[in-house]
Symmetry: C2
Subunit: 234 residues, 2 copies
């Protein structure tokens, strides 16, 4: 099913399972500075019997996270995959209560990957934020379930290479206001929304993620969004 490159969800399960035990977790934590510790020390440290510790260590070894080597009467175990400490740190971050995020602000200041398209127009945090910014700059104005383009708005779009009048005369709804549930806010859809999305991708402010509806904000895009809209991404 999964191809070469894809990081499948399945990959993470075994490692997560190894970490997902209090005893093993403390062992890994103790080893995380790169020292090699004996089985006994680790047992004491994790607060389990030597027998139990031994089993845990066997699993960690089988999982390729640590390696053990006999040295005299002791057996020293050491972390063999420094990557796991990064993973544990990331987990610790995810574990933090996480500043109570209100729905609207959920992804504010956060991630690239949380931009996305809704059919053919921008949605998600970025979509909502851009729409907001355009309303605030009096380019768009919300009227019921649709947006109206102001006079100066037409100029703004023209500058971006979008001919508003041409779109208005098309068959498709011109500038609908689409409710994005996950942000619980309206954002620009319809012909104009689709065209805008198309342009921002052409300008390489945004890039499509292969195979998904997700969009990545490019580095250029990040600067541009900050400059043009005061939107801070990342």
């Amino acid at each position: 099913m999964t191809e070469h490159v894809t990081l499948a969800a399945a990959d993470v399960v075994p490692v997560a399972a190894l970490i997902a035990d209090a005893a093993r977790s403390s062992m890994l934590w103790a080893l995380s500075d790169g020292r090699a510790l004996t089985a006994g020390e680790l047992a004491r440290l994790a607060g389990v019997s030597a027998a139990t510790a031994s089993e845990h260590l066997a699993k960690l070894v089988a999982g390729g996270l640590v390696a053990g080597e006999r040295h005299g009467r002791h057996r020293y175990y050491r972390l063999i995959a420094p990557e796991v400490v990064a993973a544990m740190e990331a987990l610790a971050v995810a574990a933090r209560p996480a500043p109570p995020r209100s729905a609207g602000e959920a992804y504010s200041g956060k991630l690239l990957r949380f931009a996305r398209t809704c059919y053919d127009h921008l949605a998600g945090y970025v979509g909502v934020a851009i729409t907001d910014a355009l309303v605030e700059r009096d380019v768009l104005r919300l009227e019921g379930r649709a947006y109206a383009v102001t006079a100066q708005g037409a100029a703004w779009f023209a500058e971006l290479g979008i001919d508003v009048d041409a779109l208005r005369s098309g068959r498709r709804a011109f500038a609908r206001a689409c409710l994005d549930w996950s942000e619980r806010r309206y954002h620009l859809a319809g012909a104009l929304g689709a065209r805008l999305c198309e342009r921002l991708i052409a300008l390489e402010w945004l890039a499509r993620q292969p195979g998904t509806r997700a969009l990545r904000v490019t580095n250029a895009g990040r600067r541009a969004l900050q400059r043009s809209f005061g939107i801070r991404v990342l």
Copy 2:
């Protein structure tokens, strides 16, 4: 036991446990681009019955990773902690077979935290690397289980503020070659090794980690190691 600030090992267990299940893992993965999906979609996607999916989702909600909201007849779930995707990615990295690393090169290019002291001298990757560099620059020469300081080597140490002759006359073994098991390589120990370690800390190339034998390479140290020894840290 644990203080305020410390990221305890215990913190990661609950989150890891949530991820450490195939069904939940695929759900999280599916949600990782920020879209909101219905319980049904997620059930199908994870390949479990609706009942099972519901239980999993309840756990994810309880764990604070996702939030669900009724919308019409469906219930949409979305990821509310973008941090978990970072964590999953980190786990995926740790899961990779990890390029077969020869012991010597294990932490090369890697982590700060993998420097450490062995009693009073430098060990770990940094210790080995520095010793290697000194041998290569003909400051030290390995002779059996000890190092000899060359003529130019004495000058080099002097420049660093270390009086080699004074150390040589001391009671303690002058410059032993200590085998670091975790690197399986020799590195400088004895009086000279201890003095060198002391100096590098005084110079603030290295900093002690409170309460452990671990050392952190400072930013200045990183530059200095690169410049003086061609050692790339981080």
